[in-house]
Symmetry: C2
């Protein structure tokens, strides 16, 4: 039987931080990333691909803002914007992957699934929204939007006098349709799912799904998806080849093999960046704690040589 892997592509796999994000740039970047997945496919893995959507959903939010002020087109809430981004990015990756498989002479179907992810409406994240999304506003604009739309703002980390909308990043509890995804992917189809961490929804007191203005961490959602479909391996592809202790300092140290015990020690020492590596490490550890064989954190181009990258196991 084939092995099953979930591959989480980082945001920079599609739009890099230093780019405007034209469609040509998005195709070039995703093509380079996707090409590296061929090594796993040739190794006999069935694949579910997940992806970030930070730059894309940011752009969609900005367009919503501009469309309203310029043409009086009603803004869509954040969950619809995330769903939009799943459609656009999923299609782009799917088409790209179909073409690369064709060039490689590999016969495989690729299917993109719009994915809702259930969170709790009582998640503690709601008391302290931290995820910055959309446009950087001046103080007066932010205050107006706070009044008019009930949005919450915090100072932007990028400019001194800028303010950005913040939304909560609640914990993913359940990925919808995982049984179907599992059946499809085990039949050999490559599935693209849970884009941008999934569309956040919660069950209300009647058990009905309701929208949530939030953004779910894509590595946390991907880890849960990998657990729910009993994947063997969980890959987090990012912009560094390894996990490091003291990243970016003279004491920087490659951590090639990590287990629960080692990770907990490193976390205690504050070795991992709060907003960058720490959530990836936690997602990777979560997967092996819930029965997964191994997690890998590395960059896409290291997939060619399967011995590279940081491997996370339970023991």
């Amino acid at each position: 039987m084939s092995k099953l892997a979930v591959i989480a592509l980082g945001g920079n796999a599609i739009i890099r931080g230093d780019e405007r994000g034209t469609i040509e740039q998005q195709y070039a970047n995703s093509s380079a990333t996707i090409r590296n997945l061929i090594y796993l496919i040739k190794d006999g893995y069935n694949l579910v691909i997940t992806h970030g959507n930070g730059p894309q959903v940011g752009n969609i939010l900005m367009r919503n803002d501009a469309g309203e002020s310029q043409y009086d087109i009603p803004q869509m809430p954040l969950d619809i914007c995330v769903a939009d981004s799943q459609g656009g990015i999923g299609y782009m990756l799917e088409k790209m992957l179909i073409n690369i498989l064709k060039e490689e002479g590999i016969q495989k179907d690729v299917m993109t699934i719009v994915t809702q992810v259930v969170v709790s409406k009582d998640d503690p994240a709601y008391k302290n929204p931290t995820k910055r999304v959309g446009k950087i506003y001046k103080k007066e604009q932010a205050e107006q939007l706070e009044k008019r739309k009930g949005w919450e703002f915090k100072k932007s980390s990028k400019t001194i006098d800028g303010w950005r909308r913040v939304v909560p990043s609640p914990k993913p509890l359940e990925i919808l349709n995982t049984n179907i995804i599992k059946n499809i992917v085990n039949s050999g189809v490559i599935v693209i799912a849970a884009g941008g961490g999934g569309i956040p929804v919660y069950y209300d007191e009647n058990g009905l799904l309701q929208s949530m203005e939030a953004v779910i961490d894509k590595d946390a959602a991907s880890s849960l998806l990998a657990t729910q479909i009993n994947a063997d391996d969980f890959y987090i592809l990012t912009d560094v080849p390894y996990v490091y202790a003291n990243y970016g300092t003279p004491q920087q140290e490659i951590l090639e093999f990590l287990n629960k015990e080692k990770i907990e020690k490193h976390i205690e020492k504050g070795d991992f960046g709060e907003g960058s590596m720490l959530p990836k490490i936690k997602a990777a550890l979560n997967f092996v704690e819930n029965g997964g064989k191994k997690s890998v954190i590395t960059e896409a181009r290291k997939l060619e040589d399967r011995s590279f990258g940081s491997r996370i196991t339970l023991n």
Copy 2:
């Protein structure tokens, strides 16, 4: 074995022509439409739901325009905008349907699939783009956009001095992933697919998929999908309960039962509106010509009484 139906929801199932299209309006309209599908589900039908995206993709195009002029955010091409709309609308319909099934005590999964539809790059539609998309512009604005973006414009049918962008509407040749869709839907899952007529792509000379700036007629794509998955019935839900000859004139006549012969006579006499009923009739006829049992053209609320609506069979 369950019967299989493809249900094509018209654009007005989600945003009505007289509305701004706020998210509240979209939920209210789609909820009313979706509720009527319960009758088919209770009759034992497995369902694939397709839907239009005219107002939504129009809004997305306008937001792209405004986002570029206001914030210098690169515009996405039309195929990405269509894919975005599949994500957003698909999610909205999926969540709505899950909730209505729950209220009705029906145990069924719902899954939304981002869908590419292959057209020919030599389609004659490219010589005469007719599909109106996006905002109604004044003449000078249209001329500016024609110069700046190479868009083509035609007079809007809605206002005397309005102009709208026109794009080609090529014939759908192949819906991707229909074998997988067929398996999923025959297992009882309700599938939402081919939104907005699908994302238009074509095979280049190397057999690789390439993007197409076009919009595929959603009824034509839905008809092809219904054929490819061997559906029994094909429903086109629109804003009139029946097909009529001489619609809107004193000679208006309900056409309750139609077959190929009758349809051809009516088409010869010019009985069906070019931009409205004619493409629906053609899509409905196409389905029964390709082995489908019957097509139905009606409005959603007539589904409660299964004897209502216009039925199209081959003979």
